[in-house]
């Protein structure tokens, strides 16, 4: 039983990693007042760029750089539409998701000719698992050893990075000048403007950070969690991250727990696939899969707590005529 739990929690960490990165990415964007439903597209775009980069240059790190770069470019397009040209944030996000969905396969087929996939990655082309110090030695110690060796050890570097990003984000948002201005601009851009700070520049910077984090999430999918790019491999993770962001009420630590919860549900669903419980029949895993979305809708409807978005989110900033 305990072993099963460890295995499931281990799976939870793996599944949660891209969610955490993407949800934090969304946090930067939305805290600055930009709605980003283009998380999905950025993850997918980065997953492709990272796998392609890793395949061509033979290095997971170069792949990561390619992924992050691609994701930043997409974030800047979003910024160009929403900040510079005051376009609709949702429409822009949908556009980016659609473009990426088509472009990854189109380029993939042209570059690698494998039906839109990238070549299977191996060796240095992938981020490999890191064994923490003494993990092997402690493996047989009951409970603690198992947790350390089997749950905490043996993940690739991006997993650890994702979890590190939570306190880092907390620190940036609440303890730095950039964070103060970021939070202010999402709540009341007029206050920021009258304080002599450029609203647009803060929002652009927030989107760049968003791009970086989505880029890492995408690279994780194709060069760490999997060994290559597959068509539509983001599979709604960006939207689920958005749900986690709302569920975590736009705050880093609650967002982490929302991601872990959603990741755990996913791990449970996979685990229970085809399992027959006596008297109940086969477990309807779809019911578990769907829980994150149902919970988010319930939260939005105000049935469990209240989700208050940053006040200025989604609204283009226009100087008012006094």
């Amino acid at each position: 039983m305990f072993d099963t739990l460890i295995i499931m929690l281990d799976a939870t960490l793996r599944v949660s990693t891209p969610l955490i990165l993407a949800a934090l990415a969304g946090l930067y964007a939305e805290r600055s007042g930009i709605v980003d439903i283009g998380l999905e597209g950025k993850i997918l775009g980065s997953a492709f760029a990272a796998a392609a980069g890793a395949a061509v240059f033979g290095s997971a790190w170069i792949g990561l750089a390619c992924g992050v770069l691609a994701s930043i470019v997409l974030a800047l397009i979003h910024g160009f539409a929403c900040i510079t040209h005051r376009g609709d944030h949702i429409v822009s996000g949908v556009a980016i998701n659609t473009i990426v969905a088509g472009l990854t396969v189109t380029l993939g087929l042209d570059w690698f000719g494998m039906g839109g996939q990238t070549p299977t990655l191996s060796g240095d082309q992938r981020f490999t698992e890191i064994t923490l110090p003494f993990a092997d030695a402690l493996r047989d110690v009951p409970v603690i050893g198992q947790i350390y060796s089997n749950l905490l050890s043996g993940h690739n570097i991006i997993v650890y990075l994702a979890f590190l990003m939570v306190p880092a984000t907390y620190w940036i948002i609440y303890k730095t000048r950039f964070g103060l201005r970021l939070r202010a601009v999402g709540e009341n851009p007029h206050a920021v403007d009258t304080a002599g700070i450029s609203v647009a520049w803060i929002r652009y910077r927030a989107l760049i950070v968003c791009g970086i984090l989505c880029g890492i999430a995408g690279a994780y999918l194709s060069t760490a969690h999997n060994a290559g790019f597959l068509k539509d491999m983001s599979a709604g993770k960006g939207y689920m991250a958005l749900a986690a962001l709302i569920f975590g009420k736009w705050r880093p630590v609650p967002v982490l727990f929302a991601c872990l919860l959603f990741g755990f549900l996913d791990a449970v669903a996979v685990r229970l696939q085809g399992v027959v419980i006596p008297g109940m029949g086969e477990v309807p895993v779809q019911l578990i899969e769907v829980l994150p979305y149902v919970l988010t809708v319930l939260l939005l409807a105000g049935f469990i707590g209240k989700a208050v978005a940053p006040k200025a989110v989604g609204r283009p900033y226009v100087k008012e005529r006094a």
Binding site: V35, I37, I77, F80, A81, C82, H85, R86, G87, D88, I90, V91, S92, V94, A95, I96, N97, T98, I99, V100, A101, G102, L103, V105, T106, L107, L109, D110, G113, G116, G236, Y239, M240, L242, A243, I246, E282, P284, Q286, L287, E289, V290, Y293, V294, T296, V297, L300, A301, G302, A309
Partner: protein, 368 residues
């Protein structure tokens, strides 16, 4: 009154046209990037879509789906709502169609099944839009987020139902049994051949006629009923709607029900018209494409038909293109679709100010 000096055709025609042209120019660059000649590719596209009878049939068959989802998005837009859940509503609408066909095809004639299937498509699609609509109207939950969530819920629900209940017992694939022929929406080529008209075999079916009827109904509803009057008022000036005593919550819910119902009609075309069985993922992104169609069609049924035919042509032509040039995937049309959304939606203001400014200055110069 600066607006008065900008001719109507500039806002209705010129600016949208420039945006579309830009989208296609950038699409051309994509072709260049993958080492193809865009002109040549466009040639294959146009030939595939319009060059022969079957191609035209396929184009219009795809267009049927786009008309439904484009109308769905645009009627909600008209009331100031962004229904991004067309995908899920279409999916559930198809479920309704499938249930009617599966339960009645042994006992009822086509003439009974068809109207029931149409009603089921509308009701199921509308039901899937109801919860997000209600939450938006009464509890202020953002309809964009809730409709996205409902897309995923729809997807899981369908998997559950197909795998556990509706799957054909003998088969492995999660498909239902094939309907009896009296539950098939007749193909247009079969309908027209007794009249001596030969349009070539294609999946184009009676749903296309339904789509055109929907265009007329939506047009009449929006522009010629008091109810449409209320939804347009709400969509363009919510304060004026309050002033006029319009029940905004009620209008919000109703418009979303209609929007969901329209999206649900995709099920008529796909399930009853082409697949003749219930299966997974038959919506294939048509719901999302509705956003591009409605943006490009400027939320007007005539524009939507034109945009739907264009997208239908892209889908069909894209298939032809991929056949002719194996290094191109049909997905390339998804890129074009995304670029259309980007340029005629998110970046619609990019040239607006400058172009309007040009005409305002010109009008001012003429006055002097």
């Amino acid at each position: 009154m600066s607006q008065a000096k900008v001719p109507v055709w500039v806002n209705v025609g010129l600016i949208p046209f420039i945006n579309i042209v830009l989208a296609f120019l950038v699409s051309g660059l994509v072709f260049v990037a993958i080492g193809q000649n865009p002109i040549e590719a466009a040639g294959y596209l146009v030939y595939g879509a319009f060059g022969y009878d079957e191609g035209v049939g396929y184009t219009l068959y795809y267009a049927t789906n786009f008309i439904f989802t484009g109308l769905a998005v645009s009627i909600a837009f008209k009331a100031g709502l962004f229904n991004i859940g067309g995908e899920g509503q279409a999916y559930i609408g198809g479920l309704g169609v499938g249930l009617v066909c599966l339960s009645l095809d042994h006992s009822m004639p086509f003439i009974v099944i068809m109207p029931l299937a149409i009603i089921a498509a509308a009701l199921f699609g509308a039901a899937w839009a109801y919860v997000p609509a209600y939450l938006q109207a009464k509890r202020g939950s953002h309809i964009v987020i809730t409709t996205i969530m409902f897309n995923f819920i729809a997807s899981s629900l369908m998997v559950y139902l197909m795998v556990n209940w509706l799957k054909e017992k003998s088969g492995m694939a999660p498909n239902s049994r094939t309907f009896e022929e009296n539950a098939w929406m007749p193909y247009l080529h079969n309908m027209l051949s007794p009249l001596g008209i030969d349009i070539g075999d294609s999946p184009l079916n009676g749903a296309f006629i339904l789509a055109l009827i929907c265009c007329v109904l939506v047009w009449a509803l929006i522009w010629h009923t008091r109810w449409g009057y209320q939804l347009r008022t709400l969509g363009t000036n919510p304060t004026a709607a309050k002033y006029a005593g319009i029940d905004t919550a009620k209008v919000t819910i109703w418009v979303m029900l209609i929007s969901g119902g329209l999206a649900g009609f995709v099920g008529i075309n796909e399930i009853m018209g082409v697949n003749h069985s219930l299966l997974l993922n038959f919506t294939a992104g048509y719901g999302f494409a509705g956003i591009a169609v409605s943006l490009m069609g400027r939320n007007h049924p005539i524009g939507i038909v034109l945009a739907a035919v264009l997208f239908g042509a892209l889908y069909q032509g894209g298939a032809e293109l991929a056949f002719e040039i194996p290094t191109i995937t049909p997905e390339v049309v998804v890129v074009i679709q995304g670029l259309v959304i980007l340029f005629s939606g998110a970046l619609e203001h990019m040239f607006k100010g400058r172009i309007e400014g040009f005409f305002i200055r010109r009008a001012a110069a003429q006055e002097k």
